[in-house]
């Protein structure tokens, strides 16, 4: 699949006088679990709302699934969205929610949905409002997956869940990805969880894209150098993202490959995704990896 599931150029959204997102240009290729990471107020939810057509851009544009306008009937048909706090109609039963979703969509895999709820031990007769938080999230995810979307968009799906429910939720997402080849874009604060599931990363900060690219490239392109703090000056020409000093020791996160030469007196270590993300979040000015060249969405004839 050679297309971008979300493609934004110069995208901006203003609420009143403040820009929740500005100058956002990115392309998320299909076939990934793409994680949208950033501090509170970075514009993650705004970006996702724009992509699913809930909000209209104040500037620029966003297309989905290889060039469809966000929010168009074709786009809505191919995208399933699970919003923050996984809203469900509290006074409807799980069976009603299935039927409701079936009636509001052209495709709905009723037998899949029933089988999954059964597997999860969610009674169809139970009112959605009486399910636990984890079960509500699973119900919302099941409804989304039963639509057989090409893109699944999840906004902070696990924020309210306990660790076990988080694990189960993400396992479902990964299984759908493996079985159906659905592309996934999710925003999350749970960095440890992302390390397990995400293979593409977009780091948003203050309404702008700071980092965008494949997780493996991102990790492989960074090393931590540990050495005497006094000698930091000798590394000035290196591309340093973040410096952490501990007594006489300094830990430098730099942009470098594993086989790059290490200066004498310094040690080079690989870096974990969580460390890397935290370092970038601490340095909102640093940018890395412009991401893949944006592919034209129209195929040349």
């Amino acid at each position: 699949m050679n297309m971008n599931v979300i493609e934004a150029s110069g995208l901006g959204k203003r609420y009143g006088g403040t820009w929740a997102l500005r100058e956002c240009s990115l392309a998320i290729p299909a076939g990934h679990v793409a994680a949208l990471v950033g501090p509170n107020g970075a514009g993650k939810t705004t970006l996702l709302n724009l992509a699913v057509g809930l909000a209209a851009p104040s500037a620029g544009g966003v297309t989905v699934l290889g060039g469809l306008p966000a929010g168009s009937p074709e786009a809505l048909d191919g995208i399933a969205f699970v919003a923050q706090d996984t809203p469900v109609y509290r006074n409807l039963s799980a069976a009603d929610m299935l039927h409701l979703t079936r009636n509001l969509n052209r495709r709905f895999d009723q037998s899949y949905a029933r089988a999954r709820l059964n597997e999860l031990g969610i009674s169809l007769n139970r009112k959605a409002g009486r399910l636990s938080g984890g079960q509500q999230a699973q119900l919302a995810l099941t409804l989304a997956l039963a639509r057989r979307p090409r893109l699944l968009v999840l906004d902070e799906p696990v924020a309210m869940l306990d660790p076990l429910a988080r694990h189960d939720f993400m396992a479902t997402v990964l299984a759908a990805m493996a079985d159906d080849g659905v592309s996934v874009v999710l925003s999350s604060h749970a960095l440890a969880e992302l390390e397990r599931v995400a293979d593409y990363l977009i780091l948003l900060s203050q309404g702008r894209v700071q980092v965008a690219g494949e997780v493996d490239d991102f990790i492989a392109g960074h090393r931590v150098l540990t050495g005497p703090a006094a000698e930091i000056g000798t590394l000035a020409e290196r591309s340093v993202v973040h410096v952490r000093r501990a007594e006489a020791q300094a830990h430098l996160l730099i942009r470098a490959a594993a086989d790059d030469p290490v200066p004498p007196g310094w040690e080079s270590h690989p870096v974990s995704l969580e460390e890397l993300v935290l370092a970038y979040l601490r340095e909102p000015g640093a940018a890395a990896l412009p991401g893949p060249a944006r592919e034209p969405s129209e195929v040349t004839r």
Partner: protein, 333 residues
């Protein structure tokens, strides 16, 4: 055709058919059955009451009112049932705003307040179609229920009209009969829906709906309705009993002298007619060359007035619903 040509991936959109409208009927019923049941219970209970008391009333009217405006009729019929009928008609004035506030206002406000619009508006049905489908179905349902109810009320009210106890244009019953009751219910629903979309919270939207409806109903009853058609003029002292007198005044020598009410009338009468005069003030004024004029709406204009009121309320409701759908398309999240 060369080997290099990449077949353009057929856009699914090119042959994408929208989700059929009829599916919205199930969705609307499932989500709003309790609101619709509430409307049914409210109107049903009132209908049972009107039916039972109406039957007794019609029976009494048939036995006591020969002829319709006799003393026996006044004693045994209107004397017995008149106060109840007044209370009932005042109570029924509250029905359209209650239906509008409790079915219309939460329709979008609850979705926006609880966040479920993020679910509903990202389904393939599409959000403006979702809104239009729901609004039309519910609007038709509540309007039809109100229309049926007002037929029953017209039957209930009929003996009082015949006995001359109430005139067709009475503010108390004009908007409970004919097409007006259904039209006011529709307008209340449309006001509620728009208030819900703008305010985005259920309880304040309900309060706003009741306030806006009350304002509109007062304006219509006290100022607008008398201007629907140009009133007729008459210098006859006795107008038909069904006439709605809009204004009365005195002229002398073809020019306006003073109104037939208020302080200017009182001062004119005390000036012109001695306190111990044997004739009534109007006779006294007539003897002194003043003639009384009335502008009035004849009772025969009841149906034109009903259609005018129904027409502008329908236009208003369509406008409010169109604005709501426009807002849903445009503004969200």
């Amino acid at each position: 055709m060369t080997a290099l040509t990449v077949p353009a991936r057929p856009r699914e959109g090119a042959r994408l058919r929208p989700v059929p409208w009829r599916r919205m009927a199930w969705v609307t019923w499932r989500q709003h059955r309790f609101a619709l049941a509430g409307v049914a219970v409210l109107l049903g209970a009132l209908a049972v009451y009107l039916w039972i008391t109406g039957l007794q009333m019609h029976h009494t009217y048939a036995t006591a009112c020969h002829p319709a405006r006799s003393l026996a009729c006044a004693e045994n019929f209107t004397g017995q049932y008149g106060i109840t009928a007044i209370l009932v008609s005042i109570l029924l004035q509250a029905v359209p705003p209650l239906i509008g506030a409790f079915t219309g206002a939460p329709l979008l406000a609850r979705e926006l307040e609880t966040g479920t619009f993020r679910y509903a508006w990202t389904q393939a049905f599409g959000r403006w179609r979702w809104t239009l489908g729901k609004l039309v179905l519910l609007a038709v349902a509540v309007t039809a229920a109100a229309g049926a109810f007002s037929v029953l009320f017209s039957w209930y009210n009929q003996p009082f009209l015949a006995a001359g106890y109430v005139v067709p244009f009475s503010t108390r019953v004009f908007d409970l009969r004919g097409v007006a009751f259904a039209a006011w219910t529709l307008a209340a629903f449309a006001i509620g829906v728009l208030a819900g979309m703008l305010i985005r919270r259920v309880v304040p939207a309900i309060a706003a709906t009741l306030a806006v409806y009350a304002g509109l109903a007062f304006v219509a009853a006290l100022w607008l309705r008398e201007h629907y058609m140009t009133p007729l003029l008459s210098s006859q002292p006795n107008l038909p009993g069904s006439a709605w007198v809009v204004n009365q005044w005195y002229t002398k020598g073809g020019t306006f002298a003073f109104p037939a009410h208020g302080s200017r009338f009182v001062s004119a009468v005390t000036r012109l007619c001695p306190q111990n005069s044997p004739v009534s003030p109007s006779q006294c004024l007539a003897q002194r060359g003043y003639s009384q004029w009335s502008s009035y709406q004849p009772g025969s204009r009841f149906w034109p007035f009903q259609w005018i009121e129904g027409g502008w309320l329908l236009a208003l409701s369509v406008l409010l619903i169109a604005v709501t759908i426009w807002l849903v398309r445009r503004r969200a999240a």
